[in-house]
């Protein structure tokens, strides 16, 4: 719950002014905070993170190479949560890089993510590291996640 609040704060703290009015440095800092809090919010053993989808994502999201509406994204997230009820995601310290396209008011965060997930009911688990990509748009009144992707790194588990 605390992570969800932190994510909400990271997204809403710029609500008072148009996101596009942010300085480039602020956009970068905000993107880094959103990426960190986003993974923290997704870590847990509940389904509450799915409820954040309408709020933190844009109306259309390029999600692992596919365009998704919010409703479609919620469905996918729900499936993922059902598959892995227990989740731990964390950005590996020192790996987060943020690049911003200031004219278009969007920033890209890329990091190496360590994860450990499990499904006690099925007796499955997995852990490893992966590349984590997150794109945040600042053109609206509040920043929104418009892109999410990644690539597998080392992994193990079962």
């Amino acid at each position: 719950m605390r992570a969800r609040i932190a994510l909400s704060l990271a997204l809403t703290s710029v609500h008072v002014s148009p996101a596009s009015a942010l300085a480039p440095a602020d956009m970068g800092d905000r993107t880094a905070a959103i990426a960190t809090e986003y993974l923290r919010a997704w870590s847990g053993d509940g389904r509450s993170a799915v409820a954040d989808v309408p709020y933190v994502y844009g109306p259309t999201v390029l999600f692992y190479g596919h365009p998704y509406s919010r409703a479609g994204l919620m469905a996918e997230k729900r499936r993922a949560v059902e598959r892995w009820p227990v989740r731990r995601y964390a950005i590996r310290p020192g790996t987060l890089r943020v690049t911003c396209n200031v004219p278009e008011a969007k920033c890209a965060a890329r990091a190496t993510m360590d994860y450990a997930v499990s499904n006690p009911a099925m007796g499955t688990s997995a852990r490893g590291s992966a590349r984590f990509d997150l794109g945040v748009g600042f053109a609206g009144p509040r920043p929104l996640i418009l892109y999410e992707g990644g690539a597998a790194g080392s992994r193990g588990g079962r």
Binding site: E76, R110, A126, A151, A152
Partner: protein
Amino acid sequence: MAIPARTLPVASLALLVGIGGTLLLGHRDTSPDAVRTVPALPAAASAGAGSWTDPAPRGQPRPAPRLVFTPDAEGAKPSRERAPGNGVEGTKGVDVADAQPPAPDATPGAKAAGPRKHGDSVRKRSARRVARTYPRRERGMPYATAYADPYAGMDPRMVGGYRDGPYDAPGDGRGWRTVSERQPAVEGRGGRDGLMRWLGGPY
């Protein structure tokens, strides 16, 4: 002129001796110690002139053919059957290096491609090599890792297809993605990756 009757037996004897000597001198030696000469070349040696000599004694069991090729023409090339190691020796005038059969893994990458199976096409072998280098996504992978596309640019029919769903929900094993749904090239494998394309600009 009359021949004296008493000389006839002598003449007959001389005639018989002459005939017998001719027969004896013209007879081939069939003793066991003789070396048999095979006038006709085996088909494998037809490229060069020469003769094949089998030194094995006649009538004796020969465990394995051991032929000695003696070319009488300069530059006669042996066939693969006469290469060293095949139980047949090359001798003077034979370029042994030329007789070596090509190594199966002589070409770069051939070893990585693995043994060629019957009926495989080059594309299949290439697909297998890629699949080994970039192992197939495992079931049980969390969503954030599920879209590393180890088969980018490959025909999925060659490597078993692609799983579907944006998460490739770990453990569910649902279906396969199609070619059109392939991920863009990932970082480090050429081209701009999806994140940088989304970001746009010269970044």
